[in-house]
């Protein structure tokens, strides 16, 4: 399916060129973030009666994982309030293209220009996530720490260094944005090649140079583009477009990834499987250990979680890649084969997260209505919904939906594996080479099915 330029449509062009729509949405979300921080720190400690827990980990998470990331990729990053304040401060302006610059504007160290810090930040949060998900105070402090860290980073380092290299959420949104049916790309690379000033990267009176430290002229996948739309505003040739495309086009391109990106993919897949066992499984001891942060049981849990997510899962895939190479593509090293096939687990990971999220989001979404009326848990009834009784939504169809989503992920991953095999092996060993990789995907899918509906 060929991509279709959405910015040819007048209203879409206005939507991405004007700063107003983006600012309005960001301002609303900033209000929501502030409310979540206040509710978390000063509201009731009962999680399912507090906006910090219900608004963030049920409503926002549902919107992010079930809608925003699969359909719009990094669109959330374009309106995220966490990085917005630092961005405004740095630029000395909120709505205007640019004002007096503020901050040291240092370059991020070259050695850290990768995903390792984001991987580490996500893993650290994952280890204490049971506490974050269930204690409003902890969520409140976390929600406060994120924008503070973003502001401090923006005052020291250039552009959106925090979003690009540090934000633990941005890392996985970037990973799965590769599957979204939306992309920002230049229309004609020759125009970029002939453009001396590169205003999309350096900035102009029309707007800032790419805050995400990306040169749009070289963009070939969604991972690192924050969809802030500054390049649409600064390109003097109207050469930047937002396109509709087929799902997973970046993965279909079958390129090898770097090791940090590979580990992001495995960490996310491993975490989805581990969460399905810990949070949705019937094992009370596991939940108790995950909740008792700092205890001996928690250290054992943390070690097991890390061993599984960054050891067992990538290790099993490495073995699959090794077998795959042995039977099909000896021209590539095992490491190259491993990295070449890694994009295969991206659709598998996204569907794993969607299937996992379906279970607790639908079951707990009914808590949203009382919290809208009483976000702090203080006995208010602002919009008359405080007495809405809890009842799981779509309980009878959720398991079937989960199975369906996982099957889509497997089909997607199988297709991606076969595509990689076709490009990696010029002779007829395509199927044989893909079998170990497909077997890995099958194993992960069946394991998830067992945890989620078994």
């Amino acid at each position: 399916m060929r991509s279709v330029e959405l910015t040819r449509v007048g209203p879409v062009k206005w939507l991405v060129s004007s700063r107003w729509p983006q600012l309005v949405v960001t301002a609303l979300l900033l209000g929501g973030l502030l409310l979540a921080i206040v509710a978390g720190l000063a509201g009731t400690p009962v999680g399912n009666r507090n906006f910090a827990i219900v608004g963030v980990w049920i409503a926002w998470w549902a919107a992010l994982m079930l809608i925003a990331v699969p359909l719009f990729g990094r669109a959330w990053c374009g309106v995220c309030p966490v990085g917005a304040v630092g961005d405004w401060l740095q630029r000395g302006a909120i709505l205007e293209p640019s004002g007096s610059r503020f901050g040291l504007g240092l370059h991020w160290p070259r050695a850290l220009r990768n995903l390792w810090l984001q991987n580490g930040a996500f893993a650290a949060l994952a280890l204490v996530s049971v506490v974050i998900l269930t204690h409003p105070r902890v969520t409140g402090w976390l929600l406060l720490a994120l924008p503070v860290a973003a502001v401090v980073t923006s005052l020291v380092f250039e552009r959106r260094t925090f979003c690009r290299y540090l934000c633990p959420v941005g890392g996985f949104i970037g990973l799965y944005s590769q599957l979204a049916p939306v992309e920002l790309r230049v229309k004609d690379r020759r125009i970029c090649a002939g453009h001396r000033n590169k205003t999309c990267y350096t900035g102009s009176p029309a707007g800032a140079g790419c805050p995400w430290l990306v040169y749009p002229g070289a963009l070939d996948r969604n991972s690192y583009c924050g969809l802030c739309m500054e390049c649409v505003r600064t390109c003097p040739y109207d050469n930047v477009a937002v396109n509709r495309r087929w799902f997973g086009a970046d993965v279909a391109a079958s390129r090898a990834v770097h090791l940090d990106e590979a580990f992001k993919a495995f960490l996310m897949l491993g975490s989805a499987i581990a969460y399905s066992a810990v949070l949705l499984g019937p094992w009370g001891g596991l939940k108790a250990a995950a909740h008792a942060v700092g205890s001996g049981a928690w250290f054992a849990y943390a070690a097991a979680f890390l061993a599984f997510a960054v050891g067992v899962v990538p290790g099993a895939f490495f073995v699959a890649a090794w077998i795959s190479r042995a039977v099909g593509a000896p021209l590539l090293s095992v490491r190259q084969t491993f990295l070449r096939y890694t994009p295969v687990v991206v659709p598998l990971g996204l569907t794993a997260w969607i299937a996992f999220s379906l279970s607790f989001v639908f079951a707990n979404f009914a808590y949203v209505w009382p919290v809208l009326s009483d976000p702090m848990g203080r006995g208010w009834n602002l919009i008359g919904t405080v007495d809405t009784a809890w009842s799981p939504y779509l309980a009878t169809i959720t398991p079937g939906l989960q199975v369906g989503v996982l099957l889509v992920g497997l089909a997607w991953a199988t297709g991606a594996a076969l595509r990689v095999a076709k490009t990696a092996v010029p002779d007829g060993a395509t199927t044989a080479q893909a079998i170990p990789i497909v077997a890995f995907c099958l194993l992960a899918t069946v394991g998830l099915m067992g945890l989620l509906v078994g």
Binding site: G47, W283, G284, G285, A395, L418, A421, T431, L442, T445
Partner: protein, 150 residues
């Protein structure tokens, strides 16, 4: 090429037989016998114990819910039934397991930080959804390989 396709096809067939064979044989030779089942389920801040209740379709079920620390509830998704219990005052629930399948048990009364994750499972007969899902997963994988082979 043809041999490979045959191997993949036979592999898929074998997988289907392995998965479905025992279930089909069992359903043919051992018709499920409905009976009376009684469970004592202890609810705590982290879990139900036992967390998995296995029944046959048609069983008459009596569940005694015992709260070991604070007030707890037990809701059976799909059946729409629930019961609550206070420490020292168990709750009782009786019903006929007339809907086959696997149903999630959830605590229905806020009981602590881990309340949303206090879950269990009620299995009425074989978990066909899981086995169908696994079978379809095998079919998807074999089909993918077969298509490329062609």
């Amino acid at each position: 090429m043809r041999r490979g396709a045959r191997v993949i096809g036979l592999g898929g067939l074998a997988a289907l037989l392995v998965l479905w064979g025992p279930a089909l044989l069992r359903s043919g030779t051992e018709p499920a016998r409905a009976g009376r089942r009684a469970f004592r389920v202890e609810a705590s801040a982290t879990a139900f114990r036992p967390a998995v209740l296995e029944l046959q379709p048609g069983d008459s079920v009596a569940i005694e819910l015992v709260a070991t620390d604070v007030v707890h509830g037990l809701l059976i998704e799909g059946y729409g039934l629930s019961v609550t219990a206070e420490p020292g005052r168990p709750g009782r629930l009786a019903f006929v397991a007339d809907r086959p399948g696997s149903f999630r048990l959830r605590c229905s009364v806020t009981c602590g930080p881990l309340h949303p994750f206090v879950v269990g499972r009620l299995d009425v007969g074989p978990i066909w959804l899981l086995w169908r899902g696994v079978t379809l997963a095998l079919v998807v994988a074999f089909l993918g390989l077969w298509v490329v082979r062609r």
